[in-house]
């Protein structure tokens, strides 16, 4: 009984995603918005797995989304005429996961040895560095990108492709979101989470107590990066069916991930959903009312949260429900 209780906090998460999905299914006109919101929630959920749990900021996070997108693109671009049908999408996801895992291993091997400021410095160049590698050495068509909508059409047929990119891609994004949430909770409730909590509080003390901090940092880093790769494959590759290095490695998305996680509350389970919904809805309406001004409005909000409310929305809520019946649902 007590064991099951420890996983109760997943209930509100699942309810939230189910409500979001249900809203999209009931009002087909709003599906675009729902897809956008799901993307932001997933981005936050995956980013939070590393930043929220370790307290390290990875400024090069978007590189993992970009490389995941390339994984899917390559699978479709090079295997479309092999008669694999829908199976190339599966291969695409596998490739996306492998690529992002490998990149995160390479980045993590260097960056995770470093702490605090040095870590941030090492990661801030990852997306730029990787983009320039692809452009400079002309890997995968270099700066010209990969446009694979025709290849996808030939591989799976016109009808399937339409449904795939307008409906199933978004459902897959939801799946990634739920996977990220479940993994976050499992980590939190197991040794990984406790080790990371100790690390977040005081890295030296954690080391002295015999915790292999590097190992747990790498676990969180790779998990987070792999989820980002899958997100890229589902939300960018399948939906847009083209990829350019300039878009795929734009630091802009890292900024969004940071905003979402901080809005909701770093290191909480519900935080990314709350943050993603607030950010997504606010951005949706700002784009209508004040196009082009979103970042000018959001940047002061980030500063306000960091300086004055570092716990974020869910962090504050968590304090409020402490000692009530809701306590075991919100972490």
């Amino acid at each position: 009984m007590r064991r099951a209780q420890r996983y109760y906090p997943i209930i509100p998460v699942l309810v939230a995603y189910a409500m979001l999905l249900g809203y999209g299914l009931l009002f087909p006109g709003k599906w675009q918005l729902v897809a956008q919101l799901a993307f932001y929630c997933t981005l936050g959920q995956a980013f939070n797995l590393f930043m929220g749990m370790t307290g390290y900021v990875d400024f090069g996070y978007v590189a993992f989304i970009g490389i995941g997108t390339y994984g899917m693109a390559i699978s479709i671009y090079y295997l479309y005429d092999k008669g694999l049908g829908l199976f190339i999408v599966v291969i695409g996801f596998i490739l996306a996961a492998i690529f992002s895992t490998l990149l995160s291993l390479a980045v993590g091997a260097v960056a995770l040895r470093l702490r605090g400021a040095y870590f941030a410095i090492a990661t801030i160049g990852v997306n730029e560095g990787f983009r320039y590698l692809i452009e400079g050495a002309r890997i995968w068509n270099g700066a010209d990108g990969i446009i694979f909508s025709l290849h996808l059409k030939k591989a799976v047929g016109r009808e399937t492709m339409m449904v795939l990119s307008t409906f199933w891609a978004d459902v897959l994004v939801f799946t990634v979101a739920i996977a990220a949430a479940v993994l976050t909770l499992v980590f939190m409730r197991n040794k990984v989470g406790y080790a990371l909590m100790a690390l977040r509080m005081d890295e030296d003390a954690a080391k002295v107590m015999g915790i292999n901090v590097t190992k747990y940092k790498i676990i969180a880093f790779i998990t987070s990066a792999t989820l980002a790769g899958l997100l890229g494959a589902a939300a960018w590759a399948l939906k847009l069916t083209y990829i350019y290095p300039v878009d795929a490695f734009a630091i802009h998305y890292t900024v969004e991930a940071i905003i979402i996680v901080l809005l909701g509350g770093a290191g909480t389970l519900m935080g990314p959903i709350v943050g993603g919904l607030i950010y997504g809805v606010a951005k949706y309406f700002l784009a209508i009312v004040l196009p082009g001004f979103q970042l000018l409005i959001f940047a002061p909000i980030i500063i306000t949260i960091i300086v004055i409310f570092p716990e974020g929305t869910v962090g504050i809520l968590k304090k409020r429900v402490m000692g009530t019946a809701l306590q075991k649902y919100i972490i």
Partner: protein
């Protein structure tokens, strides 16, 4: 042929490196004194570039004369940012939540009304977007919240917080400048002749920029080592508790060094436009942030002089590698050079994070 080209490019690299070094001193100064990495570094360089551009285009003032103006602008900007957002993080007061009195509320309303009047007045002259009013309103709200909740924090915030705050200020500056000047790339043309030294041709503006960088570095060196004010700042780096005991106002030294660091960065933006007077746009800072990190790490993150020598080395590496990559067929040397500088960063961080040069 290739060697001649390489030699020419290396001379160019050395001149550019002096400017790069100067552009990184602010970053190292801030890290050395406050242990804060200014992630928005490039945005401040961009502010300097726009200062030079505007001074030149609107007023016809040559960039050399714009240097002091940029320094003052940068120091003011640094002061504002320090007191608004950095100080609550690095030296929290911990006095608890403040209950606003009637007088406080009165002052808040007065400030709000005067802000509205100013905005209304300004919008009579310039076409101001509604978003600017919202932006100003948000800043006002921030001040209000900082006043009420500012003392709630009891302990020093994690490094994460200072990284994100400087990052957010960089984003604000970029977006603000984008709204003022649009995101198109601009440039100006200040031609005062060229110097031909056989292997390459150096315009006098470039030489002047390098000369300006070197002299600023020398002035800074003398200031740190020969004046009381400079030594007070160094004492905070050596031992902040000891400095406090000896009667140094550590808090003011923090504020001063943050603002000086930003001031130097903005000034270096002016020098950079003398070197590369084109491509001035709100997002030009991004590559410079990365370059500044590589340079700072080359010279030891906490040392401004190390940063200067790191800049010279980086200028040579960048131009040298560009020339060599250009020989390889089928690649884009420009992009590869950028990748190469990132690779250098990773390697140095891996083998010797304290810096290769370790200049004191």
């Amino acid at each position: 042929m290739i060697f001649e080209q390489l030699a020419g490019n290396l001379v160019q690299g050395l001149v550019l490196g002096a400017v790069y070094g100067m552009a990184t001193m602010g970053l190292s100064l801030i890290f050395g004194v406050l242990q804060i990495v200014n992630v928005g570094h490039g945005a401040f360089i961009m502010v300097g570039a726009f200062t030079a551009l505007m001074m030149f285009q609107a007023l016809g003032i040559p960039p050399v004369i714009a240097l002091p103006a940029a320094l003052i602008l940068g120091m003011l900007l640094g002061m504002v940012i320090y007191y608004a957002a950095v100080k609550p993080l690095v030296s929290p007061s911990g006095s608890g939540i403040r209950k606003p009195s009637g007088r406080d509320a009165g002052i808040a309303v007065a400030i709000f009304i005067s802000l509205m009047v100013v905005m209304r007045f300004l919008s009579g002259y310039y076409k101001l977007h509604t978003a600017f009013s919202i932006f100003v309103g948000l800043l006002f709200l921030y001040g209000l919240l900082l006043y009420v909740y500012g003392g709630r924090r009891q302990e020093k915030a994690a490094e994460l917080a200072t990284l994100l705050v400087t990052f957010a200020f960089g984003v604000i500056l970029e977006e603000f400048v984008k709204q003022l000047f649009t995101s198109e790339a601009r440039g100006y043309n200040w031609d005062i002749g060229k110097l031909d030294i056989g292997i390459t041709v150096l315009p006098y503006t470039k030489l002047l920029a390098a000369l300006g960088s070197v002299s600023i570095a020398v002035i800074l060196y003398l200031w740190f080592n020969k004046t009381r004010a400079g030594m007070a700042m160094r004492s905070v780096v050596e031992d902040s508790v000891g400095a406090r005991v000896c009667g140094v106002n550590v808090d003011w030294q923090y504020a001063l060094s943050f603002s000086l660091g930003i001031g130097l960065t903005v000034t270096s933006g002016v020098l950079l436009t003398m070197f590369i007077p084109v491509g001035i746009n709100p997002y030009m800072g991004g590559p410079y942030t990365l370059k500044a990190f590589v340079i700072a790490v080359l010279g030891g993150l906490a040392s401004p002089y190390g940063a200067f020598f790191g800049g010279l080395v980086f200028g040579l590496i960048e131009n040298g590698s560009y020339t060599l990559f250009a020989v390889i067929p089928g690649v884009e040397p420009f992009a590869l050079t950028r990748f190469f500088s990132f690779l250098i960063l990773l390697v140095i961080l891996l083998i010797r994070p304290t810096g290769l040069l370790r200049a004191k």
